[in-house]
């Protein structure tokens, strides 16, 4: 599958601060790529470079096959941008904002009207289309800028914290729309702080720390790769010998916590099989068996704090 975004050695320096330090990564066509990192890590600066808002000091970024510095107009024609803070014109109505976007993307008027009506309806704003944006709530503004970004049917969508500070209704509406768009083939580059959101939405996530890429992988792989030693919780319906449990193949340690045993291992598969056989041998039925995986939060914290530690 070709890459929708291909970044090589991208660097941005503000004064003496290296905001983004020679990062390289790619985003495949049709994937949802989460870009995570703590505040000030360089997420927004990277997004701004990729969307052609600010130029990099070094490196290249090819977006939809076009070098964002050499052919910015051609690249921008193919993507839409949803920034963290709403940047619709508050003195214009939602409809006027959308017609302006239509003209800036060179859409025929009839196409703009059809798309705007369709998208405003889908995001519950059609009835208030003739109201000035200054009277909109934060959630409504955020939904409007999503509509503005989607008007020209982009094949790539950049979103910077799209659900930050929104009510549940707006958040769910936006996330559902993003899933639908992705199913229809839209590539999504999502900058977020929300690990749960990234975990549920993204095919792959990249974690940036102090301007450098700390890790890139699928959320599940990232979580498991971080912790080589896994924890398994098991409980049987009768007492079992703890020393025999700790001698099972693959078990690193076995500790009793209440009516459960907490087993640590580097090989979950072998240990789960051993625990099943162990119960059978001792005539004990398994009541619960849980593998405790690290969350993406854990992975994020580990990766972003590694340097400090």
């Amino acid at each position: 599958m070709p890459d929708a975004i291909d970044v090589t050695n991208l660097t941005k320096i503000f004064g003496t601060t290296i905001a983004v330090d020679h990062i390289s990564f790619s985003v495949r066509e049709g994937e949802i790529f989460g870009f995570l990192g703590p505040n000030g890590a360089g997420k927004t600066t990277t997004t701004r470079m990729l969307t052609g808002v600010i130029p990099p000091n070094e490196g290249t970024a090819r977006v939809l096959g076009y070098d964002i510095r050499k052919s910015p107009v051609l690249a921008k024609q193919g993507f839409g941008v949803v920034p963290e803070t709403s940047n619709a014109y508050t003195d214009l109505t939602a409809w006027q904002n959308l017609m302006l976007m239509g003209e800036l993307y060179g859409l025929p008027r009839s196409r703009s009207v059809d798309r705007a009506s369709e998208l405003l309806r889908a995001l519950g704003l059609l009835e208030r289309k003739d109201q000035k944006v200054q009277a909109y709530s934060k959630g409504m503004k955020q939904r409007l800028i999503l509509v503005m970004a989607l008007l020209h049917e982009p094949s790539l969508l950049f979103l910077d914290e799209p659900t930050s500070g929104l009510d549940v209704q707006s958040t769910q509406m936006i996330l559902a729309l993003l899933r639908d768009l992705n199913l229809q083939g839209t590539t999504i580059f999502l900058t977020t702080h929300n690990m749960e959101e990234a975990n549920r939405l993204c095919h792959r996530v990249g974690i940036i720390r102090a301007g450098k890429i700390a890790a890139i992988d699928a959320p599940e792989k990232l979580k498991t790769a971080l912790d080589r030693v896994h924890t398994i919780e098991v409980s049987y319906d009768r007492e079992v010998p703890g020393d025999a449990l700790s001698r099972l193949e693959g078990v690193t340690s076995a500790n009793r916590t209440g009516d459960k045993w907490q087993i640590t291992t580097e090989n979950r598969d072998t240990v789960i099989r051993s625990l099943v056989d162990f119960g059978r041998q001792h005539g004990a039925a398994i009541v619960t068996l849980n593998t405790i995986a690290p969350s993406l939060d854990d992975a994020f914290l580990r990766l972003t704090q590694e340097e400090a530690l």
């Binding site: 701004r48 969307t51 052609g52 808002v53 600010i54 130029p55 052919s71 910015p72 107009v73 051609l74 921008k76 024609q77 941008v81 920034p83 803070t85 940047n87 619709a88 014109y89 508050t90 003195d91 214009l92 006027q96 302006l100 976007m101 003209e103 800036l104 993307y105 060179g106 503005m148």
Partner: protein
């Protein structure tokens, strides 16, 4: 559709111009400022300089009206939009920096022309006769382009604080009015004053307006038009080059 084609970028510049007119120019205070400011300056000089003929003062009024209106709003648009983050929206759209600036220039040119035509009507209402209407109209259009380019040049410093730009703008605009033969005829100026006057595009426009109302001009009219044309080309090229460099610093 090729989004990089000149015609396509011009269409997008027109969209920017329409947005500017709707948001920034069709506002009561802007319209009132555009008309009242030159009218009050005109009245002040009318009362204080009774020996100057009405045709001379009305020409000055027309010159000031165009200069003040074409440069009134455009210097503040970028700082306003930088502050409201709407400039970032424009920067992420498939439109070149040149087309954005051209769109802003179109808006201030049209606004300048509209208000200036009102002052021409005031002159006609005061009993003056228009001897060279086509020359005046051509001069107004050319000078409006020139002054709107000056307005955009004033917005080059990459600050997002409109008051900073407005202060700089006033510091440059008011002295220009006083060296451009609006209140003191060029014939009466000392050599150093004349040397300053030839550096101001407003001088040539005021000369064209005077010719249109009185039939007499200080410079030959083709010379006035050529000078305005050169200033327009220089300021337009300069503003586009400089904004391209400073635009990312506003983000």
């Amino acid at each position: 559709m090729n989004p990089t084609a000149f015609s396509e970028q011009m269409r997008r510049a027109w969209a920017v111009a329409k947005k500017d007119i709707r948001i920034y120019y069709f506002k009561g205070p802007v319209l009132i400022f555009g008309i009242f400011m030159p009218v009050f300056l005109f009245l002040a000089f009318l009362m204080g300089s009774r020996q100057l003929p009405l045709a001379f003062l009305v020409s000055g009024l027309v010159g000031m009206a165009l200069f003040f209106t074409a440069t009134a709003v455009s210097p503040a648009i970028f700082p306003w939009e930088g502050q409201a983050k709407t400039l970032e929206r424009l920067a992420s759209c498939p439109i070149t920096v040149e087309a954005i600036i051209f769109g802003d220039m179109i808006a201030s040119t049209l606004f300048g022309i509209g208000i200036t035509l009102i002052t021409v009507l005031i002159g006609l209402g005061l009993g003056l006769s228009l001897l060279h209407a086509i020359t005046l109209l051509g001069g107004i259009v050319l000078a409006a382009c020139c002054f709107s380019a000056i307005g955009m040049l004033l917005a080059v410093p990459p600050t997002n604080v409109p008051s900073n730009i407005m202060m700089l703008s006033s510091l440059i605009k008011f002295p220009l009015v006083f060296i451009s033969g609006i209140f003191i005829p060029l014939q009466q100026m000392p050599p150093w004053g004349l040397a300053l006057a030839v550096c101001s595009p407003l001088t040539y426009f005021t000369d064209i307006v005077r010719y249109s109302f009185t039939g007499a001009s200080y410079f030959p009219i083709p010379g006035d038009i050529a000078a305005l044309g050169v200033f327009t080309a220089l300021f337009t090229a300069g503003t586009m080059y400089l904004h391209k460099r400073t635009m990312p610093k506003r983000m």
